[in-house]
Amino acid sequence: MSSVPVPARPEELLIFTIARMLDDVRHVAVGASSPIPGAAALLAQTWSAGRMRVSVLGSEHDNFFTDGGRELFDCAAQGRIDAFFLGGGQIDGAANINLIGTGEYPRNRIRFPGSFGSAYLYFLIPRVILFREEHSPRVLVPKVDFISAPGCSPDHVYRPGGPYALVTGRCVFAFDRKHSRFRLTSIHPGHTVTEIREQTGFEFDTSSELVETPAPGSETLALIRGPVGEAVSKVYPAFAARVLGINAQGVA
């Protein structure tokens, strides 16, 4: 464990913020290239005293699927995954996400890799947390150019899952599924409502209980930089080394 605690780094704030959204979750799945959500899941797992399961997709560590590529999706459809993370090249105010590209399909101006499993998992996993560090009008747009996965569906469409919140480098929005709108609920230290309005391309509501995003306390920071960080370094070695100063062999 680091002997001289430093204040929470921005990534640690995000880890803590997302982890708090995973309270009472039994099973969270996370992508191998999503270190901040992954670290958050591992932190929440520590809080759960091991009762929470964390599946890291595409990783050889903490990936306990044994039925091939389809198992994640089947598992979600069985209701065995409670929380998941999605990003988006574009995200709009109705929580539609675009993983295809900007401009007109198919000859997009900028092409993203593709929709992956978003069009499916967004429907089936109850608590989908949208995470995108970049908070700019380029990413948070009035309307996505392509809906890889819609934020909301008509009532008659089978949809046990959907968006829960959007976490960015500047703030946290909760998502109101009934009104299909985001609501600003907390602002990270050092950021302002005015700045967020300028940097957000879509309209959103503001919570009457708007707060500053709580920073992790020293106990949590010790966890993040200690046992959680060690676990993180096994799954996300580059991230752990760069951000937490931990290499896979232990604390640096």
Binding site: A32, S33, G58, E60, F65, T66, D67, G68, G69, R70, L72, F73, D74, A77, L99, I100, G101, Y105, P106, R107, N108, R109, R111, P113, G114, S115, F116, G117, S118, A119, Y120, L121, Y122, F123, L124, F146, I147, S148, A149, P150, S153, H156, V157, Y158, R159
Partner: protein
């Protein structure tokens, strides 16, 4: 003891690649599974044309390279991603230039389509997806009312057509001399083999032991019945890496991404690593 199992032919990498006909639909695995890179290079050398490439459910460097080499007419996948290496340069260029037909999908659609082929049914239902713009662009998908819904209850559900690739192409750690192929937990490779008309596999090594005779190995083995042709290629997934065996060659992949940023750089990459490699082999 009688030989109770028919043999699977073992050929050279170029012979194996020759079994992928121009115009064939070819299912390949993502970078974290088994990628038959030696065969992909052989296809590029040959100048294979008009392939319908299917990512199961996504595709990585294989896709970018084959697209760059002009081998691909149609790309059916949930994503073409180079992961941490950033945007796929030849794919991005091809999209911009409109030189490939895109059949964008989402991961479980590819799996379900292959499962439909595995079960010999024309379609498979799947939840979710409705309202995605993917649906409007895929005129081979259909939405019906769930025939099992409660009376008078609207319940639309998507039906996906079976995906039966002409060829499943992948790399695996081990085969035995009867043609059984060990893939461990990477069962998307087994699904590909079940679903495809022809399954071409390059392997790191051959075992003299019957993989099906050991109940631990058998559990992760595709029976020879589904394997059409094998080829040996030690380090055959290079530079991508092979599950449980060797890691990606990060430096080389980085170099690929840099060189492939331009068409001429990609051509140079092909000369250096696809054509020359062969001369030295």
């Amino acid at each position: 003891m009688m030989n109770t199992r028919a043999l699977v032919p073992v050929e050279s990498i170029d012979e194996l690649a020759a079994r992928v006909a121009d115009g064939a639909s070819v299912a390949v695995a993502p970078d974290y599974s088994g990628c038959a890179m030696e065969v992909v290079r052989a296809l590029m050398r040959r100048g294979a044309r008009n392939l319908h490439l299917i990512g199961v459910p996504q595709v990585g460097f294989q896709g970018d390279m084959l697209i760059g080499a002009g081998c691909v007419a149609t790309l059916e996948t949930a994503a073409l991603t180079l992961g941490e290496y950033g945007p796929a340069p030849r794919f991005t260029a091809a999209v911009r230039e409109g030189t490939i037909v895109l059949r964008d999908a989402t991961c479980p659609v590819i799996h379900a389509g292959l499962q439909a082929a595995e079960k010999g049914v024309p379609f498979m239902p799947l939840r979710g997806i409705l309202g995605s713009d993917l649906v409007g662009h895929r005129n081979d998908w259909k939405v019906i009312e769930n025939p099992f819904a409660k009376a008078n209850k609207e319940d639309p559900i998507l039906l996906l057509p079976a995906i039966r690739p002409d060829v499943a192409l992948f790399h695996a750690p081990l085969a035995d001399r009867w043609g059984n192929v060990w893939i461990g937990v990477r069962r998307e490779l087994m699904l590909m083999a079940h679903a495809a008309r022809t399954t071409l596999v390059s392997v790191e090594a051959f075992s003299d032991e019957d993989l099906l005779a050991d109940d631990r190995l058998a559990a992760g083995t595709i029976p020879a019945l589904y394997i059409s042709t094998l080829a040996k290629a030690a380090n055959g997934a290079w530079p991508i890496g092979l599950f449980g065996r060797y890691a990606p060659d990060h430096a080389h992949l980085q170099r690929y991404v840099e060189m492939a940023a331009t068409a001429s750089g990609f051509e140079q990459y092909v000369r250096e690593y696809v054509h020359k490699q062969r001369v030295s082999a």
